[in-house]
Amino acid sequence: MLGLNNKDLMLFAIVIAITLLAPVILNPFPVESDLAQFNAGYPDLMQRFVIFGIFAIGFNILFGLTGYLSFGHAAFLGVGSYAGVWMMKLLTMNVVPAIIVSVIFAGLFSLLVGFISLRRSGIYFSILTLAFAQMSFSLAYSVLTPITNGETGLQLSLNDPRILGVSQTADGSIPMTNFFGIAMRDGFELSMGGWLFTFNAGYYLCAAVMLIAFYVSIRIFRSPFGVMLKAVKSNQQRMLYTGLNSRPYTLAAFVISGMYAGLAGGLMVAMDPLAGAERMQWTASGEVVLMTILGGTGTLIGPVLGSGLIKYLENIFSKINDNILHQWFSFLPDGLEDFVVAIVYPFIGKGWHLTLGIVFMLVVIFLPGGIVEGGQRIGRLFRRKPPEDRNNTTTAAAPSAAE
């Protein structure tokens, strides 16, 4: 069905189910309980999960398949964001044109960057992409201020032209981003017992786009084109000797992943119409590399899991402050309480990067195939058949994955 084999279809079905039920799955704790702190089922974070999932899926098409490690993908996300906001300023608040234009602009920009950077491979390629991304960041941050509004970020205003819409609504505010009339902010809440679930229109739009993106990525992985890309990763020299020119394939992969990044950027501004230069900074490019490696390079589902984990740590762990810690450990005697809080404190709140670093180290050292490999190992424990017999659902990560 859908041109997928049974295993892929199964995986796709699971992803569909999880994505659609995310508002419930991510809110496992009742609102009034102490553990509500760990609920992640609010619209902004769920949107981030799927948007960064798209970003990482796209990155994985380049890095996972061809092994080309780009350190500049945030630039495409940023270009997509700016293009999207400009569409909303100039044309309409409907998100569809904004998203389409984001993808086109990111694609064109990645064609340019890819054409130049792909003349080199390995570390030189990485450095070239990094240089391009930093250049774009500086451009957006100061040089191109009239277009990007510099550090403040590009925003909508009450006197934007908006040819196919209104500059401001009847009550004098900026119109909402919408999908043919359905505002992205709209939704309904479902309260069951102590639980509260928020179903948000914006999230479901992002989720639908993510499922399409995921499906396309499966098809690419399983296509002859995908096999060609994997050949580039395993031995490009040999490909060249057999007379195959790998450049068009790598360039195509680069542009596709750039367009994925642009799509993510477009969705980000569709959910929240502001584009800041920081999302093009090298740290943002590094983040998607982390997501992919953490989840499992070259696997289908890995990047989505990795992005989910990082966004969860960033948004939930970073919100735990020392007051909350003191509440948690208040059952301990005073001296001990302070001691425990002092030990735990560096790892939460603004120290969440430290936690992320430790998780990342552990994953790279013990699970080179990322979270997906962890899942497979656990699965193997509960399976009777010896592992050699079964056909991996996902392409097994190559040993070089964590390079």
Partner: protein
């Protein structure tokens, strides 16, 4: 296909499932609420969104202390601080409208994107009814427009750009802090007395909305009294070393350096400037001078010896002798062991003003708060009689011109007040060219 008749058992089962399904969930559409995040229980949640990392982290930490103190006072704990000196007596120390005040905190990282993400999670996840904070105008502008869209109130913390209540003003946003124009209007006469009318100024400016508008304000005010602006160089907000920007000044014929920098930026640029010997320089037969238009004690502390004799302006200083300031310094000092900064003061006052507006309006509805704050005149909060102007939601009050103290008596006694510029002298019409182009729009309650 065989059509099976419906069995009795099956029917009862199905009916049971459907019944439970219909009865259990209590669905309500978000829009059914009177306004976004209407507090229904015995508590109300405020969101404190401050920079905990980045160049303004010191200010952010102090803001957070002030917020915690304000929450204590609102809930009737501690000594009540400025509640006792505030001209409005609507607040009784039993929370806001009888609801206990709780708060959530977030890190803006001094980045618009991160600040909005943090504010969004406070609004969507924690149900915050009001967002306050920010130590960067870029962030304040971004979060203010988010709050306008989401239908909650934004009480700006430390933001000094003209744009916050100028071209980027929003109906749901309010600013107590002063702005670049006011700094310039207050500083110019003092600078004229101290340094004369024939000066050549070189500007280093933080490259974002605050730097741009402050530079514009200072340049126009100083040019009006005869100074010449030699050059204006924009520096990235994330910069930590300014030596590359200082060297060209030595080659120019400028005799005044204006540092449109704040927080960590200013500490570093001033230190660099002093290291390069700018203060010992003689140009055009005059002493080379440095001016820091927006000053704070935290910055003076960071820059140490280098601030001596340098002019600047500030919104508030702990050494003020009015009863509001004394009460605030006392309760802040009792809790934390040192005096509050101007950032702490404005954040504390904003929290009180919000709570007071809710009490006076009798509702948490953002539109009622807007109505209660617009054109509101108050006193006793440390700045003398103050007006929240309805046209742009900007407070108008006296501005302090300060100077780095030559002989500090303690580690906190770093600035001396040179002049208190009366509010009338720094007031401008709402359609002043530096503030034109924006529109408040109408209040949004998220309903």
């Amino acid at each position: 296909m065989i059509k099976r008749p419906i069995s009795r058992r099956g029917l009862i089962k199905t009916a049971g499932v459907v019944g439970v399904g219909l009865a259990a969930p209590h669905v309500f559409i978000r829009n059914a609420n009177a306004f976004n995040n209407e507090p229904t229980g015995g508590t109300v949640t405020l969101g404190f969104n401050v920079p905990q990392t980045g160049p303004y982290a010191d200010e952010g930490a102090d803001e957070l202390r002030a917020y915690e103190l304000a929450v204590e006072h609102l809930n009737g704990e501690g000594d009540g601080g400025m509640l006792n000196t505030f001209s409005s007596k609507a607040l009784k120390g039993n929370g806001i409208l009888g609801k206990k005040v709780e708060f959530v905190t977030g890190d803006t990282q001094t980045k618009s994107d991160a600040a909005r993400a943090s504010a969004k999670s406070m609004i969507e996840k924690d149900g915050a009814i009001m967002i306050t904070g920010g130590s960067s105008s870029g962030v304040a502008v971004a979060v203010q427009s988010l709050c306008q869209e989401a239908g909650v109130i934004f009480m700006a913390g430390l933001t000094h750009s003209n744009d916050t209540t100028g071209k980027d003003k929003k109906a749901n946003g309010f600013r107590h802090f002063f702005n670049g124009y006011m700094s310039a209007a207050a500083l110019a006469p003092v600078l004229k007395n101290a340094y004369g009318t024939d000066r050549k100024a070189y500007h280093l400016t933080a490259d974002y909305t605050w730097g741009w508008t402050q530079q514009e304000s200072i340049a126009s005010a100083t040019e009006a009294m005869g100074w010449e602006t030699v050059n204006n160089v924009l520096t990235p907000l994330a910069a930590t070393d300014f030596s590359a920007y200082i060297t060209p000044i030595l080659q120019s014929d400028a005799d005044v350096l204006v540092l449109n920098h704040y927080g960590g930026n200013m500490v570093n640029s001033l230190t660099n400037a002093v290291q390069f010997g700018l203060r010992d320089r003689q140009v055009n037969g005059k002493n080379f001078e440095i001016i820091v238009p927006l000053y704070s004690r935290l910055m003076a502390k960071g820059a140490g010896e280098n601030v001596k004799g340098i002019f600047g302006s500030t919104n508030w200083h702990w050494s003020l002798e009015d009863e509001g300031s004394i009460a605030f310094v006392q309760s802040f000092g009792k809790k934390y062991g040192f005096p509050p900064s101007q950032a702490a003061h404005t954040c504390y006052v904003q929290t009180l003003l919000y709570a007071d507006a809710v009490e006076r309006g009798g509702s948490f509805n953002p539109c009622s708060v807007v109505e209660a704050l617009e054109g509101y005149e108050f006193d006793g909060l440390g700045n003398g009689p103050t007006l929240y102007r309805a046209d742009d939601h900007q407070c108008f009050k006296d501005v302090l011109v300060v100077k780095g103290k030559e002989n500090p008596t303690s580690e906190f006694d770093l600035l001396e007040i040179v002049e208190v510029t009366p509010a009338a002298q720094v007031t401008y019409p709402p359609d002043h060219p530096m503030f034109a182009g924006g529109d408040l729009g109408t209040c949004n309650s998220g309903a």
